[in-house]
């Protein structure tokens, strides 16, 4: 026993090893601290991080195409748009089955809008096709019904396709989701698929039962195609169903049976359906995820041989990113130049006066952003206050008034004004902590005013400049209202395009990609700042 106490771990009063006991106490403390910040953490997570993560995820998400066109995206994989051959009949069949379901669910136009971002014109051919889907395969429906009135009855189809267990319970108020029989799926795969898709759609959409509704025309088309492929299909069934199917097989093989080509039907809806480019676009964007939005955001496009730079006339985002960076830096620099003396004066005045002047600095905060921006319009425009004064003074000729707005100059002036308080406040609070006796000491040791300022005062105020610059710069690159109003064509930022894609074009994927790139650029700049200046060298007071 005594041996154990000497070689074993040190024990706490209650007999547990001291190390564990300490760790537990610490863990308790950490848990308590965590519980204190938990409300804030949860708040930030729920209202900030999750929405942003969701938005960023949209920049790669592309499941709408496969979800809406499951058969088409499979059928199109074997197609080579460069081969010069027309899209095959099988692809159009798959498209017809997909579209008839999508049109019932009113999703065909959504996928059309999605693909229209990549290939202008697709949205209208999807819209038109959706309208005509009800008639697709009507010719087969008529012939089947002419053959035997039983082909009009819902029961015929339930007997043919439905899982017997499902059929036994179907028809009630709480009908379970349609299940197909394995026999049908084996011998009539296309028709079973089409029927199941229809049955589930009417169950989901309208709460109808397949036992009571007449199937739509494309199912007859699928049935016809399956029977052509597999004339022995009737053998797999029994009773009335087998007899009906055998009669159908005989009729189909007869010369007077009329057929139609799905491709022709689509070409009749819009001849653009025959365009290989449409099918290339569907194939290119058939994945669950896409890098298409990011390529687009970097002025690239998906060509036949991988990503390629867009034609020069269509490149815009590179220019805008670069411009946003350069102008934000210009704004930051002008804020430093204008704000530094103000902060210095505020920090060196008696606190009573400083507080009054502080209100003047804060005053712009209490004025609406739009009002301030509009005021700059009145000041800067060609018939505006500044130009009028200059003309009156004779400095500028009346017919050569200065252009100071709707360009980069206007944006820089207005945004410098708006963001100036964010620069002055951190600088002021840092300068307040600088002991004035250092300056006096430097001067008493023989330094000139300039040397004393530059060697003694300025280095101590750098953390304030750093904090102000980060604030102003990061706010500036995200601004869009002011540049939109006073920026004209050359003074707009990337955020204006992001706002456009969010609220006007509804291309949220592209907006998310642009936003992600902007976020990455900011983080890179932050990292670079940390490497060069050091982030611990930033003080807010």
């Amino acid at each position: 026993m005594s041996d154990m106490t000497q070689t074993g771990p040190v024990l706490a009063a209650d007999g547990t090893p001291l190390k564990r006991s300490l760790a537990r106490a610490l863990r308790m403390q950490k848990m308590r601290a965590l519980a204190l910040i938990a409300p804030l953490l949860l708040f930030v997570l729920l209202t900030f991080i999750l929405p942003i993560a969701d938005m960023l995820f949209r920049s790669v998400e592309n499941s709408i195409v496969t979800d809406t066109l499951p058969r088409t995206t499979v059928a199109v994989q074997a197609y080579d748009a460069d081969s010069g051959e027309a899209p095959s009949e099988a692809m159009f069949d798959a498209l017809a089955y997909d579209l008839v379901v999508a049109a019932e669910r009113k999703e065909h136009t959504r996928v059309g809008s999605r693909l229209n971002y990549e290939n202008a014109g697709i949205s209208s051919i999807f819209r038109k096709a959706g309208r005509s889907m009800d008639d697709m395969g009507e010719i087969y429906l008529d012939q089947f019904v002419d053959l035997d009135k039983a082909w009009k009855e819902p029961e015929t189809f339930v007997a043919l396709f439905a899982d017997p267990d499902w059929a036994a319970e179907a028809g009630g108020d709480d009908e379970s989701r349609f299940a197909y029989s394995d026999t049908a799926a084996e011998v009539l795969p296309g028709a079973t698929d089409a029927y199941a898709a229809w049955a589930r759609t009417i169950q989901d959409q309208d709460g109808d039962s397949p036992t009571k509704e007449k199937p739509w025309a494309p199912i007859y088309m699928a049935l016809y195609k399956d029977l052509v492929q597999n004339p022995d299909a009737p053998a797999a069934f029994g009773g009335d169903t087998a007899a009906l199917l055998s009669a159908a097989v005989t009729a189909i093989q007869a010369p007077e049976w009329q057929t139609m080509s799905t491709r022709e039907a689509f070409a009749e809806i819009d001849k653009d359906w025959l365009d290989p480019e449409v099918w290339r676009t569907i194939k290119t964007y058939s994945g669950k995820y896409t890098n298409g939005y990011f390529l687009n955001a970097a002025d690239f496009q998906k060509g036949p041989n991988g990503p390629e730079l867009r034609p020069e006339l269509e490149r815009i985002y590179g220019t805008l990113f670069l411009r946003t960076m350069i102008m934000s830096m210009a704004i930051t620099v002008s804020c430093i130049v204008l704000g530094y003396p103000v902060a210095w004066i505020l920090a060196n005045l008696p606190s009573r006066t400083a507080n009054v002047l502080m209100i003047l600095v804060l005053l712009p905060f209490w004025t609406s952003l739009l009002v301030r921006t509009s005021a700059w319009k009145v000041m800067l425009q060609q018939q505006g206050v500044i130009n009028d004064v200059l003309v009156w003074l004779g400095i500028v000729a009346d017919d050569a008034r200065l252009v100071m707005i709707n360009n980069q100059f206007g944006t820089i002036v207005a945004m410098t004004h708006i963001l100036l308080p964010f620069m002055i406040l951190p600088m002021y609070s840092v300068m307040q902590t600088i002991n004035p006796s250092y300056l006096r000491a430097a001067k008493s040791l023989g330094a000139t005013n300039w040397t004393a300022f530059w060697r003694v005062y300025f280095p101590q105020s750098v953390p304030g400049i750093g904090a102000g610059s980060i604030l102003v710069f990061i706010l500036a690159i995200g601004y869009y209202i002011t540049p939109e109003l006073v920026g004209g064509t050359k003074g707009v930022f990337i955020s204006n395009r992001i706002a456009f894609h969010i609220s006007q074009s509804l291309n949220w994927g592209l907006a998310a990609a642009l936003g992600t790139i902007l976020l990455v650029v900011v983080l890179l700049l932050y990292w670079a700042y940390d490497k060069i200046v050091g982030i611990d060298n930033v003080k807010l007071g």
Binding site: S113, N116, S123, N406, S505
Partner: protein, 368 residues
């Protein structure tokens, strides 16, 4: 026959069922519109009369029509639809319909017939550009010019915007390709009915942009409709495009020295859409309001307050005088025959297809 049944049904419902129906309807309705003079005209013409008939109903306004498409998509994704009836331009209604965010309507069933019995779908005619859309007004994007800055020869053709010799000075144009590209091609000598064929090719786009290039340095690009009247009033621009109602109020209500240039005015529509997926009681209320607010008399009444043409053919003869100024409104309507001698017909379907593509090209051109 069908019609008589319908009106008989309507009469029965009106006589026997108002109490029963009122119980099934929500008593709160959120309407979304554009704010400003336009929303005021809606309040005066049909919201106030409707509330007078149904004192139990309260109306909440949301002035978010400019971002309606984005907000409706966000609401639908969040599964919480707070709007009941949304005022949007025609192209947005197509987009909302395409995305399944707006409800498809059977116009003859949900809207009132004209007083002479013409069904709603015929009364609105071609203006029903999408199955989800109930048109209210026809407005146009057209030009105003400073009467004191054009000398003795006021412009009579839209091509004056490209004529820097005759009309020096800045011009205000909307910062989007729609309309501007068409005007540029028209003034570059393309026949009116071939504009969209030409614009559909890369060469056509380059041609339109080249024409706009000739005045690029002299253009102030606007995004809000109020900007052009302000720029004109300040003398910043000699001419500029905007919505005709904005120019009307600058000219008639504020007596600014501005003249109207109706040549090649671009017709556009504004109307209601109902968000998809409303609960039944709210839907019943909205449908009741919608039927009232878009009948012949109500649409004609709206023209008393703003110079936009009613979308129903049957409303046109009922358009009277301005409610405050007492001037005849008919000559200020974009649809007035004297104003509509040369009209540019905006092709919704074409722009729905090509808007994203052309917008990218246009913005790239602007940024150069």
């Amino acid at each position: 026959m069908k019609l008589r049944n319908l009106s008989a049904l309507a009469a029965t419902t009106a006589l026997c069922a108002p109490m029963a129906m009122a119980a099934d309807m929500a008593n709160e309705m959120t309407l979304v519109s554009w704010g400003g003079a336009y929303q005021a005209s809606q309040v005066k013409a049909y919201v106030e009369p409707y509330l007078a008939m149904h004192p139990e109903v309260t109306v909440i306004w949301d002035e978010s029509s400019a971002e309606a498409t984005a907000k409706m998509r966000a609401m639908s994704e969040a599964g919480n639809i707070t709007w009941d009836l949304v005022d949007v331009v025609a192209s947005d209604s197509m987009r909302l319909c395409d995305e399944g965010l707006a409800m498809e309507l059977d116009h003859d069933e949900v809207l009132a017939a004209a007083p002479d019995g013409t069904p709603a779908s015929d009364d609105f005619g071609d203006l029903i550009v999408s199955d989800c859309f109930v048109p209210q007004i026809v407005y146009s994007t057209t030009f105003g010019y400073r009467t004191d800055m054009v000398g003795d020869t006021p412009p009579t053709s839209v091509c004056a915007i490209f004529d820097l010799d005759a009309y020096p000075g800045k011009r205000a144009l909307q910062k989007r390709p729609i309309d501007n590209m068409e005007w540029a091609l028209f003034c570059d000598g393309v026949a009116k009915d071939e504009i969209y064929d030409v614009l559909g090719t890369d060469e056509g786009v380059a041609r339109a942009l080249a024409k706009l290039d000739t005045i690029k340095d002299q253009v102030v690009w606007w995004t809000a409709g109020a900007e052009t009247p302000q720029l004109l009033a300040d003398g910043e621009v000699v001419m500029g495009s905007t919505f005709n109602g904005r120019l009307f109020s600058a000219i008639a209500e504020q007596n600014q020295p501005i003249g109207m240039l109706w040549d090649m005015q671009s017709f556009d529509l504004d109307g209601w859409v109902v968000p998809a997926g409303l609960p039944e009681d709210r839907l019943a209320r909205v449908m009741d309001f919608l039927k009232f607010a878009t009948d012949t008399q109500r649409l004609a009444d709206q023209a008393k307050f703003i110079s936009y043409g009613p979308a129903r053919t049957s409303s046109a003869p009922l358009v009277g005088k301005h409610a405050d100024l007492g001037i005849e409104m008919a000559p200020h309507m974009p649809t007035d025959p004297a104003n509509a001698t040369n009209v540019h017909i905006y092709d919704y379907e074409w722009w729905a297809d090509n808007r994203d593509d052309l917008d990218a090209k246009f913005q790239a051109w602007l940024a150069q």
